[in-house]
């Protein structure tokens, strides 16, 4: 195009040059679109793979195997003096009832080892199940009832097909004999899979069939509430001051750079800081939602401050001028006009920060949230764990039944994360203003 046409040759028209290059330009555009589209498809397929794998592994944890046995509530075992005293009933030997029921069901079993195998088919949580029943209705004593008893995790795995019945006996956890009993019970329709309420109502346990996420969920809930209470006011306050009131000088530049740096600090560092400062110096009880919230506040503050500043920046200056122009003070201008307009953006940033905090594991390991806690936490200072840490702990457990529970817990965590992010998107849609 820089070349001048040779003398004598007809001058080339600009439109001819444009037409000649057109095909190449369109081809480049098509290539670019194709690359972009494949990147999106690749990304989505990874997400799809993740979800498919987790759901395939975890969906079976939402049902639990139960075995139906006729249990005789023997008065001599439960209530020898016939007083119906709840304290006596609570301490009675319910395990005896289950063992009796099993022996009645399978009368041929006499050998000690065989008996042990037989007893282990029913979960160690089943006696509690019976006790709760009797305490709720003492009239059961002396009667025989068909009761659905919680099966042991190995039996549960066998029934769900996670243990291959075709393998040789020494390569699987369930003995041939037990497989035979299970098949016998299945034939009688006395084995059923029911919705696993235990998973949602119990704290964790060494026994997979008794392990639930309620403790971790409550721990996460208390932690997030406190994190929100700490991080939102501090973050929004800092953002308003920095964006609207602070003079622009070297100091505020330094602060801004440091806030951005803080957002990129590995989260485990915050955990170490929490351990060194909050627990060692200030004596905050460890392994509690309180200390977890303090650490997660430090971690989410940069996210909230950066998002809030962006939200404040997007409020048009004309609104500030309008308010100042009628005699509003700078603070009134902020509170009456700028803040309401920036709030959706601030809330979006906060929710994303909270979602980050919900999924955070590493710093919490440092401050004792990794402890094995069976109790469901009852407050901000009771020992607890949180969902991602619970997932980490279960993923570490050797029992086959914990594999599906790990995946199920991940599904619950993902559900909460998606819910929170969805809220953020909806908030933005609902309150976004265009200028």
């Amino acid at each position: 195009m820089n070349k001048t046409p040779a003398a004598g040759a007809p001058p080339k028209r600009a439109i001819d040059i444009v037409n000649a290059s057109l095909k190449r330009r369109y081809a480049r555009e098509r290539r670019f679109r194709f690359i972009g589209l494949s990147a999106v498809i690749l990304g989505l397929s990874f997400v799809g793979l993740l979800f498919a794998d987790i759901i395939a592994k975890g969906h079976s944890a939402f049902v639990q195997t139960y075995i139906q046995l006729p249990v005789h509530f023997e008065a001599a075992v439960l209530d020898p003096d016939g007083s119906r005293n709840p304290e006596v009933l609570a301490r009675a030997n319910y395990q005896q009832l289950i063992r009796d029921a099993l022996r009645t069901e399978f009368p041929g079993v006499t050998d000690r080892r065989e008996t042990r195998t037989l007893y282990s088919m029913i979960s160690v949580g089943a006696p509690t199940q019976l006790r709760d029943r009797v305490l709720a209705n003492p009239d059961l004593i002396g009667t025989t009832q068909d009761v659905w008893l919680l099966a042991d995790d190995d039996i549960d795995m066998l029934v769900k097909g996670h243990i291959d019945r075709g393998l040789p006996e020494n390569q699987r956890r369930v003995k041939d004999q037990a497989v035979g009993w299970v098949e016998q019970l299945e034939a009688q329709g006395r084995i059923a899979k029911r919705f696993n309420t235990i998973f949602f109502t119990n704290g964790t346990s060494r026994e997979p069939e008794l392990a639930g996420i309620a403790g971790a969920l409550m721990g996460s809930f208390y932690t997030l509430i406190l994190t929100l209470l700490f991080a939102f006011p501090i973050g929004v306050g800092a953002a308003i001051y920095l964006e609207e009131f602070a003079p622009k000088n070297r100091w505020t530049d330094l602060i801004e750079v440091n806030i951005n740096n803080l957002a990129a600090v590995p989260s485990i560092v915050f955990g170490l800081l929490g351990l060194a400062v909050f627990i060692s110096v200030f004596g905050v009880p460890r392994s509690t939602p309180l200390v977890a919230a303090l650490v997660l506040t430090l971690m989410t503050l940069p996210t909230i401050i950066i998002a809030s500043r962006a939200a404040l920046k997007s409020v048009p200056p004309s609104i500030r001028e309008a308010a100042l122009g009628v005699g509003a003070s700078p603070l009134q201008t902020q509170i009456h006009h700028v803040l309401p307009l920036a709030m959706p953006g601030m809330l979006t940033g906060t929710i994303i920060g909270m979602a980050q905090a919900l999924g955070e594991t590493a710093p919490l390991l440092m401050i004792g949230m990794i402890a094995f806690i069976v109790e469901i936490p009852s407050g901000f200072t009771s020992p607890s764990t949180v969902l991602p840490v619970q997932i980490f702990l279960w993923a570490d457990s050797p029992e086959r039944a914990f594999v599906e529970r790990t995946s199920a817990a991940i599904m619950v965590l993902l559900a909460f994360l998606i819910l929170m992010n969805l809220t953020a998107v909806l908030l933005r849609r609902r309150f976004e203003r265009r200028w």
Binding site: S318, I319, E321, V326, G327
Partner: protein, 287 residues
């Protein structure tokens, strides 16, 4: 108040492009900067943004019941000067104002003076209509409410009706006061902003190109309104339209690269400008 300013001599100066570009030294103002009945008096005002000087030694009066228009090419500092009059420039970092500006004899850049009540006395209407994203009623009510001008709802209602009437908007919006102000047309929004400004009973109204975003019909309505408002307020208006300046103002000030070049009766400026630069501008040779 310096007396030399009152006896400005007409100076004829060659305006070469080199001088236009350099413009380092401030030029002396041609014409009479004073008003017979001044409300705001500005003397030797310099404005700096950081190290650049945006306004150079400008002196100008804004009289009672008078519309002063400020014209000049883009970037000449007329808006900056206007924003000095209610200390709106305070909100800009690195902006520094020297010289004296008084409102009814009171120095508005005095250390002890609070700019917040000042802005209630010297109201401002901006280039782009900027109603609050609230109802029409709330837009007008906001000023009186935060300043505590009323004790009762009835009083507030009176102020709102009065302000909207003065702004010529009452008949158009009286049935939908609870509708958002941002839903009005551009011209109506600007009149709503004027109503919002006069609701706090200011003494001076500053208008920064109030019609630049409006169509000719809306502009005509606003110009009519400015003429009516003159009976109660002092008005300083910045405009890019020389016709508008000629139509609405009694006095006109011509700014050029931060200097106030010429001030005079509007008729005189447009029919018989004394300074070469003014003449070049109003005859359309540049700007």
């Amino acid at each position: 108040m310096s007396t030399t300013l009152d006896e400005m001599t007409v100076r004829t100066r060659a305006t070469t492009s080199a001088e236009l570009a350099s413009g380092r030294e401030s030029r002396e103002t041609v014409g009479d900067v004073t008003s017979a009945n001044p409300r705001m008096v500005c003397r030797h005002v310099d404005v700096f943004y950081g190290s650049t000087q945006a306004i150079k030694d400008v002196s100008l009066d804004i009289g009672k019941n008078e519309v002063v228009s400020m014209i000049g090419p883009s970037g000449c500092g007329k808006s900056t000067f206007l924003r000095c009059l209610n200390r709106m420039n305070d909100t800009i970092d690195g902006c520094r104002v020297t010289g004296s500006i008084t409102l009814d004899g009171l120095d508005i850049y005095d250390k002890g003076l609070d700019p917040v009540p000042l802005r209630a006395q010297v109201g401002m209407v901006f280039q782009k209509p900027n109603p609050f994203p609230k109802s029409i009623y709330e837009n007008v009510a906001y000023g009186p409410r935060i300043l505590g001008l009323t004790n009762s709802k009835a009083e507030l209602d009176d102020i709102i009706e009065g302000s909207l009437r003065k702004a010529g908007l009452w008949n158009e919006v009286k049935d939908r006061l609870d509708k958002p102000g941002t839903g009005l047309s551009g011209g109506q929004q600007q009149r709503l902003c004027i109503a919002r400004t006069i609701a706090v009973s200011p003494e001076v109204i500053l208008m920064d190109e109030p019609c630049s975003a409006l169509d000719p019909i809306a502009t005509a309505i606003i110009e009519e309104l400015i003429d009516e408002l003159r009976s109660n307020y002092s008005i300083a208006i910045v405009t890019h339209s020389m016709q508008q300046a000629a139509r609405v103002s009694q006095r006109t000030a011509y700014f050029h690269l931060g200097d106030l070049i010429e001030v005079g009766e509007t008729n005189q400026i447009f029919t018989n400008p004394k300074h070469k630069l003014t003449e070049d501008y109003i005859t359309g040779r540049f700007g």
